[in-house]
């Protein structure tokens, strides 16, 4: 699986982000100027309500269109209509001085932002994997912040050139046209991904939007977005309310707005460039969803407490609310947008865009409308002041944070459910999983196919007696095979007989019957297994086969024996030990103290991560060494073995069905599915082992060759280390043989 950084799509989407930022800026600058001059801030709640009504009117149509046509097909006419509307309003304002047109312009600003982010987020969902989305989406949003700030800086300059405020709409019209061109260009650059129409696997008729929005996870997403926008609007109101109270003249107010907008976007850009991706990578989705409400609410609460102590007109109150606004913008762009766009990826692909359009198109304008109504009711109904608005903001913030936690839990559940649904399709597992060498995979596959109880081996009838020993020594494997079951009954008291049965494990044609005979020894199998795993001189192949059949043993001592040997010197045998344990735990339950499995898995992952990093360093040192090709490929095999060990280990603490499907996707060629599987496992494993598990499952970061003067020395050291394995860390003769071959080839 390759999860390298995709520069192409991100560059195109970031360019769209910049253009959307410019477009938004060049709409809101003239819209605010003209509207506030004519109607004042008391007209804004009516704008908010209109935004809600328009959102409610257009969203069902958008959702329906996105299920009928591809995203790229829908984007073009919608952006064309927006361009035409902006142009018409510009011409109307310029030619007729019809100031009322600033009202639809204000509404259009909100609609453009919601649709713009739906389009960009939708394209990102189709071009990037879920893992890439978490890392790259902040960079795309940075484009928007850069564009928005650039519009703020360019606005006054252009205004002096163009002469009239409404003529800035000509620039907005050009930006809208540019966004349309960029979307078309992106579609042409990535036709296979963007022109695809996602349909449900069974071609079932599309589910109505209302039904979709009432599904638990979608409803959580909707609630989160509504509370997010509601909180944002209230914080925005608080800042401008306090600013209006502090600055008496329109000139002072305009100066504050200008400085605050630039500072806001500069902080946003710095955060997006330096912190956002790292924060999501380091702390994950949960923090991405709750950081924004928590931090913004803390600022508002601080302002409220400060206002209660020293009056709402105090500078500290104003600073706290301004801080809340900065935190809200920075964390919205830096974590919330990315986290929520990632959360959409847990939905089935054929419903994703419709849900996204529904949530963004209904939820966000709806929240803006509710905020408008709430402000009107507080102001006119209760004659409440800023303290009441701040109190409402704190309550909304707490609910918003709680909904973030609920979305995260829903995201985990949905990812796992998606994987389980996939498993239930027999076509996905009938061959790969049922004949898999990993018993945990077989167990889960059989369980899911409703075949868990069916035995896969038939044991021949016991033979009556004593000629068994001769039969076990026969040259014909068929003859030996027929004797194993009878031999097993005698082997418990006859070491020589037991050895003959064990020898049967060493030959493919007799191994399965020998194994079947061995596991019937209820009392003695655990001891036998312990001896084989402790004996460092024995045959690895025989030991592997014995461990594999341990999963079929009913000897209660077996689990304890296997637990003791999880860290077996041979990583291959360790994998079989883990796999057999998974199967036994799946059959008999985890037993007392499930925490013990977490500790055991944590130990395995920690040791394996050290070995993985060792392999990566060796591959980097050997990437360009003549004659080391097979050695590098074998080191990659080692990495693949570590991935399988990780999956087997995770089977002890994560739902086996999730592990089975995750493995199929991780080993397949579909990068989107692999990323989704990785994401599902990441959110399923305990936090303390998450980073190690992801590094092990992602595989090698590549064999980028070393550079610099130390290269030759590092290469020589690596080859010598692999050839002799003086510290006993590689534990694979084959790597030594390959290293010696590379050394000879280099002479």
């Amino acid at each position: 699986m390759n999860l390298r950084r995709p520069t192409g799509p991100v560059a195109y989407l970031a360019a769209q982000g910049v253009t959307l930022g410019l477009l938004g800026g060049f709409i809101i600058i003239p819209a605010s100027g003209i509207f506030l001059e004519r109607y004042g801030s008391s007209g804004l709640p009516w704008v908010y309500i209109a935004v809600a009504l328009v959102g409610a009117a257009i969203t069902p149509g958008m959702a329906s269109a996105l299920r009928r046509w591809s995203l790229a097909t829908v984007c073009v006419p919608v952006l064309s209509i927006i361009t035409a509307l902006i142009t018409a309003i510009w011409v109307g304002l310029d030619a007729t001085d019809a100031v009322w047109m600033s009202f639809p312009l204000q509404v259009l600003f909100q609609v453009v932002l919601q649709l713009g982010f739906t389009f960009i987020g939708g394209q990102a969902g189709m071009l990037l994997t879920v893992r890439q989305m978490k890392e790259q989406f902040p960079r795309i949003v940075t484009g928007f912040a850069v564009g928005f700030m650039a519009s703020g800086l360019l606005g006054p300059v252009l205004l002096s050139v163009l002469g009239r405020t409404e003529r800035l709409l000509a620039v907005a019209s050009l930006c809208s046209g540019a966004l349309l061109a960029l979307v078309s260009l992106t579609r042409r650059r990535f036709p296979a991904q963007l022109s695809v129409m996602q349909r449900s696997a069974d071609d079932a008729p599309a589910v109505p939007l209302r039904t979709l929005l009432l599904r638990p996870f979608v409803f959580l997403l909707l609630s989160y977005q509504v509370l997010s926008m509601f909180g944002t609007q209230l914080i925005d109101f608080l800042v401008y309310d306090r600013a209006a109270a502090r600055y008496a003249t329109s000139a002072e107010l305009a100066r504050f707005t200008s400085v605050f907008t630039v500072a806001l976007n500069a902080a946003d850009i710095v955060f997006l460039a330096l912190v956002a991706a790292w924060m999501l990578r380091r702390y994950g989705m949960r923090l991405g969803l709750v950081a924004n409400p928590l931090v913004a609410t803390m600022f508002v609460l601080g302002g409220l407490l400060s206002g209660t102590a020293s009056g709402m007109g105090a500078l500290s109150v104003f600073m706290a609310f301004a801080g809340a606004r900065v935190a809200d913008i920075v964390l919205t762009d830096g974590s919330t947008r990315t986290a929520i766009n990632t959360a959409y990826q847990a939905l089935p692909a054929h419903e994703r865009l419709a849900v996204q359009a529904g949530v963004e198109g209904l939820g966000i304008p709806g929240a803006i409308g509710v905020a408008g109504i709430a402000l009107l009711v507080l102001e006119h109904g209760f004659e409440a002041d800023a303290r009441a608005v701040a109190g409402l903001t704190v309550v909304a913030g707490v609910l918003w944070a709680l909904s973030g936690l609920a979305v995260y839990r829903g995201y985990q559940r949905n990812l796992r459910a998606n994987l389980s649904r996939r498993v239930l399709r027999p076509a996905d597992i009938d061959l790969e999983a049922v004949v898999d060498s990993d018993p945990s995979v077989q167990t889960a596959a059989h369980h899911l196919l409703g075949d868990a109880g069916r035995s896969r081996s038939k044991i021949v009838d016991p033979m009556p007696d004593g000629g068994v020993r001769d039969l076990l020594r026969a040259d014909d494997p068929d003859v030996r095979t027929s004797a194993y079951h009878s031999a097993a009954a005698l082997a418990a008291h006859d070491p020589e007989m037991l050895q003959l049965v064990l020898d049967g494990l060493g030959t493919a044609s007799t191994a399965s019957m020998a194994a079947a005979a061995l596991v019937t020894q209820h009392g003695g199998f655990g001891d036998l297994l312990d001896q084989a795993l402790t004996n460092t001189e024995g045959s690895t192949k025989q030991c592997l086969r014995l461990v594999r059949c341990a999963a079929r043993s009913s000897d209660p001592a077996v689990v304890g024996v296997l637990r003791r040997h999880v860290g077996h010197r041979s990583r291959d045998i360790g994998l079989e030990v883990l796999s057999s344990l998974v199967r036994l735990v799946a059959q008999h339950g985890p037993g007392p103290g499930p925490d013990q499995w977490s500790r055991l898995v944590g130990d395995v992952l920690r040791d394996d991560l050290v070995h993985a990093q060792r392999c990566d360093r060796a591959m980097a040192a050997l990437a360009r060494v003549a004659g080391a090709g097979e050695l590098v490929r074998s080191l990659q095999d080692e990495r693949n073995l570590l991935r399988r060990r990780t999956l087997a280990a995770l089977g002890l603490i994560v739902d086996p069905a999730t592990v089975v499907q995750a493995r199929a996707w991780l080993e397949g060629t579909d990068q989107r599915a692999a990323a989704l599987a990785l994401e599902a496992l990441e959110v399923s494993v305990p936090k303390q082992m998450r980073a190690a598990a992801v590094q092990l499952l992602q595989g090698s970061p590549g064999t980028a060759p070393m550079t610099g003067s130390a290269t030759a020395s590092a290469t020589a050291d690596t080859l010598v280390d692999l050839a002799g394995d003086p510290q006993g860390i590689w534990r694979r003769d084959w790597l030594g043989e390959c290293a010696q071959h590379a050394i000879l080839a280099g002479r």
Binding site: L431, E432, V435, D436, S437, T507, A508, S509, A511, S512, K541, L544, R545, G629, E630, R633, S634, D637, N640, L641, R732, D733, W734, L735, E737, C738, H741
Partner: protein, 150 residues
Amino acid sequence: MSSPQQMVTVERVAVLRRVEFFNRAPGHVLASVAAEAEEMSFGPGEVIISAGDPGDSLFIVVRGVIQVTVDEGFTNELGPGTVVGELAVLVPELRSATVHSVVDSLLLRLRKPVVDELLLDYPDVAIGIIATLVRRFQGGGRAPATADHR
């Protein structure tokens, strides 16, 4: 036909990795297979497999070109990295095609017990073989006993 030892194990493993249905097995496992493989050299026109003979091994072309001829007169030329006779290691039966060397060719021969050991511990290899055969049947319905042609 002659059987001189020309390749070290690492080189044999590199050859096995190029064969589609072995490429899911790790190098150290292929090394154990390679150690059991026999190198066989054939001159131009020499017969490698005769139709109707019993068979229990497969051949991997390391160097050169071989020609597969089935009863109906269908012929196919195969080069390095291709396999002939793989069905015989799954289901021992009489060979259904004649294979001869077109130029000087070097082949690796793997007998059934060696492949059986591999299949027992690495079902991924069996999946690779099945996938190859399915693709072959889907791709024209040609008789399956000859080669892994890509």
